[in-house]
Subunit: 347 residues, 4 copies
């Protein structure tokens, strides 16, 4: 049994980790910490877990976590950075669901997150955790900076096009028009996330610059080995869970000659969690809700050279807690889908 | 392995059966029938099942189902009535998720469903499938008329009060003010179920008379052995899944003397799926969504003699497909929660 | 032109007042105050008002309001109590949309609101502002404690039954099962009002005791002259606006003999804003959304003696800002529906 | 008073016309026709109009409409084409809210709508009704093919860029990623528009080709006089009303030198219904809901050459019924905003 700790379990990614780990046959939940809730039963805060998760929040200290094999951080940025070194040095593997170990460039980190990076040495060791792109590296990773939710959707949508050795698209003019459910904003009390604000409403946000932009560009460049430029526009959808990325690329001459549908199907043929749908399909966020699946479909409207790639994930599962468990399975040499077999909840 | 057939798998209860059965370790899905969709892959209609359910719809004939151990009917009323006899006679056990075998009185059936009951003999054999109330009878049942969604919630809310040998409440003036998500109306194209009609809207319906009224009154009388009269008002909530029943009872002198919270906790102590919450709790439909759990809480406002009982279920799971699987587990002597361990999906 | 001031215009009742008053032909918006937002343009906070409301928030001082003919308080309880005396003494009429001047009994006020009432003398002068019940008193009222949202719906639902000189129902066992959209919780950042918590969810709240209970009981007793006892259960609906009250009453012998539909139609025949729908109708919250109308329908299920009364209002309009404007129209001898003619926004 | 007739008033654009026209001070509603509902009171179908619209549906014949000054068609395509000639010949002005008179090219019409155009001569006379672009032509128009909902949003978003005499952007690679509420699909019973399908869900549709594509390209070419090519992807948002168009353009050298914000502000300075928001704003659909306003904001992320233009409208108002009334006001020489002053309903 893998002994698991969770730091910061009072948000949506934390409770989602609990939902998944509670039924994982190889996991023993050792500790869940929260500064503000020490002693409170987890199931009192999340009644959906009543009768199945019988643990209370404990102090966010090394002491609480020292017997764990792996610790998940489901915390605001800055926290994992401050606490990971001690754990890693003690031989405990760390998966950060936050942003502290995603951007390799500390200057970029400081620019986008407004604080200096205090652990550049740790950062160098960190594996960027988009599982489908980092499987081998993950096996021995001590520290994982799990991919963000939007970056997971956009990178899975583009990966087959950017890993063919040569450019197939104009890599300087990609557009990723992304839409997310409100749970992406977390469980923090904020007026803009109120039901009365978000319901029956649709808007873009972060258009001039969103923290996932440098992460996406970094990830795409890791895939292609070339500089890639993307316009990334997130939008807020009046639903709780789900991300749809609508990605627009201009096929170049090489790309126009290829059967892109075939390329995607072959590329993802062995991926348990990535479903390339038949040409012309319309993936819906509900078709992955509550599950760790990603579904992708390709369109080439009017036979023109702009290709439209649609990708859906559940932001809390494949975009966070599910991918974290998937990464853990790889790290501990378990079947990758263990504990992640649930089918999407639709309708 | 239990060989399972589903008749009428194109609605929400049918797809929910598929979601649950696909992961049930002792089930082999043998056939799913639909007159209109013969030959179509199930996963084409329900992309959420892609890659996990690899079966196509077949003809709704005895031939398609003759190798099954059990057949679920997820059909409009009238269908199970017409097709069950042949199956039962062939030794195949039948669970009807529809209304054909719920009301014991054929006059009542005809009054509320507008058609005569063609199988009164079968009806006599049928077990009314509220699992918590019919467990022993279920073990050998050949034919089950599964409890409806509202009736499941209301009966679970009242069962401890009605099974104590003597009246604890005024059994002639119970009020059950019930609220359901829109999936209760099924997957039928109807203007009143359109998103633009139901969203951002709330209304009562069937106030003057709803088919679940006689079923509830029958069920309560089976419990108490006494005539019971209830005012039942269903409402439509702008959400997909979930039922909350708010039940008002007038405690009589005997009832006022009892510790009702204690009565409920003891009554349901051994029930895996029924959670009596601490006094004063507010169960939310999201706390059971996607799961087979029911949660119940008790209130006695201002210390007066009107008690308010709150009960929540997922109408498609405990109110339909989940309870059907639970019944099957009992019928085939499997652990009652096999295949039903999923935790609620919240948020 | 009536010079109007608003104290506390940063919440939903405040912005709703602005929406209505901006188009009122006899109103000149003089000042809107907010301690936290002094100097900010109102339309920056509420972009829906851009180009039509060109005023900025000012200090919440007497100075800001001294030229007004009437001041609306759209503030948390306690604020109007503290600031009204100075205004009333200066001859400025005050309409409090909050709770400070609703309960006549200061002991009850302290019990339910957790603070002593500092202005019992003012309270004695205050008119309880359910316009349909207080029209004459309103004409000369200096201070109005506007009816709350739930109390407006419940009292309109019951008024014809309680104003006939003799009891027509069992006045000790009324049940009001009420459902409200989330905007009723205001624009305050709170986890329980987050989209991800409230969407796809349904729950009761305040079951053991809600501040609107004593207000409703007081209002009903003012109508009938007799003590009335009610069980009031509020629920939260995943929609922004709207209240549906489902009220259950036991007709007594006198009540059973009457044509209650006829009683309601005659009682409300001259009310512009109260629509008694044909017998058997199902009023929907969307049928009044954005408007000042209330719609009421009557049912007597199975011909039994329990009558079900359904009433819908928009909680922000007839339940708050709209009724405030309606009251103002009465107070200033304008046509009661002036500025309130908008039709409901449906779908 | 203008005598108005409506053909096909049982859908959402029809009921929205009624909502607006009922309060228009210069309109007298003469007739509303519906083959299926002859004799039924309009307010029975749309209870939101009870007490304010007292007219019944009549036969869809010339006889019903012959006394009108103007007739609105709120019908599926094909109907206006079949019935307009007789009206126009009788001197009755026609505004078609459907698609029959939008596309100037009958070959394109047949390709996208699957039926030949039976009235090419009428089509030649028809004015394409995007009011802000066609005001002068509208004044004497006998027949108006009102702009579609998506085309209104996209064209308003691009108009200032395409009417400057020279190209400012790459006009061959525009991307319009558009999102609409479900009411855009109309009041037709269809599984894909059910609440249980559309709620808590997000998807693209019509990606490979949508009927609004040729309309948008035609409209843009009418503005610029040059061929324009656009990739148009509509998406379905789980809300009732509202469209957000996110439009991506590549600024060319001329465009990069201009102050585009200033260009937009000046271009729309005199438009009552078009609000150019301050640079960096995020227009929300709720900020125009129920109103005839469009709001537009400009972004240039990271200072790169891709500009992002955001535009919001209410699809049933500015995208249909409201723009129809606006067009009528222009046609009959009334103030353009008469009857259209309502402020958006937010929250």
């Amino acid at each position: 049994m893998i002994k698991v700790g969770i730091v910061g379990g009072t948000g949506y990614t934390g409770s989602e980790l609990l939902r998944l780990l509670a039924l994982h046959p190889q996991v023993e939940l050792q500790a869940i910490t929260s500064r503000g809730e020490v002693g409170q039963a987890v199931a009192d805060m999340f009644p959906a877990l009543r009768g199945r998760v019988n643990i209370a929040f404990s102090e966010p200290s090394f002491e609480s976590l020292k017997d764990c094999d792996v610790v998940f951080f489901a915390t605001p940025h800055g926290v994992a950075m401050a606490q990971s070194a001690e754990l890693v040095n003690a031989g405990i593997r760390v998966v950060d669901l936050g942003a502290d170990f995603r951007l390799k460039n500390t200057v970029e980190f400081e620019k986008w997150y407004g604080m200096p990076h205090s652990e550049p040495a740790l950062l160098d060791q960190a594996c960027y955790g988009l599982v489908e792109a980092a499987r081998n590296e993950l096996k021995n990773a001590k520290l994982v900076g799990l991919a963000g939710c939007y970056p997971t959707a956009v990178q899975l949508a583009l990966k087959p096009l950017l890993t063919q050795g040569m450019p197939l698209i104009d890599e300087s003019s990609i557009v990723a028009d992304c839409k997310s459910g409100v749970s992406g904003a977390g469980r923090k009390a904020a007026v803009s996330s109120l039901f009365s604000e978000a319901s029956e409403n649709f808007k873009a946000y972060g258009v001039s610059g969103h923290r996932h932009l440098p992460e996406i560009e970094q990830g795409l460049q890791m895939m292609s080995g070339r500089k890639t430029s993307i316009t990334f526009t997130p939008h807020l959808v009046p639903m709780v869970r789900g991300i749809l990325a609508t990605v627009y690329v201009q096929l170049n001459e090489a790309g126009q000659k290829l059967d892109i549908q075939d390329l995607y199907e072959k590329h993802y043929a062995d991926e348990y969690f990535v479903d390339v749908m038949p040409k012309g399909s319309m993936p819906e966020t509900k078709h992955v809700r509550g599950s760790n699946f990603a579904r992708i479909a390709l369109h080439r409207p009017q036979g023109r050279n702009t290709m439209v790639i649609l990708a859906v994930i559940d932001n809390l599962v494949k975009g966070a807690a599910g991918q974290a468990v998937q990464a853990m399975n790889v790290m501990f040499d378990l079947p990758e889908h263990m504990g992640l077999e649930q089918l999407p909840l639709a309708p």
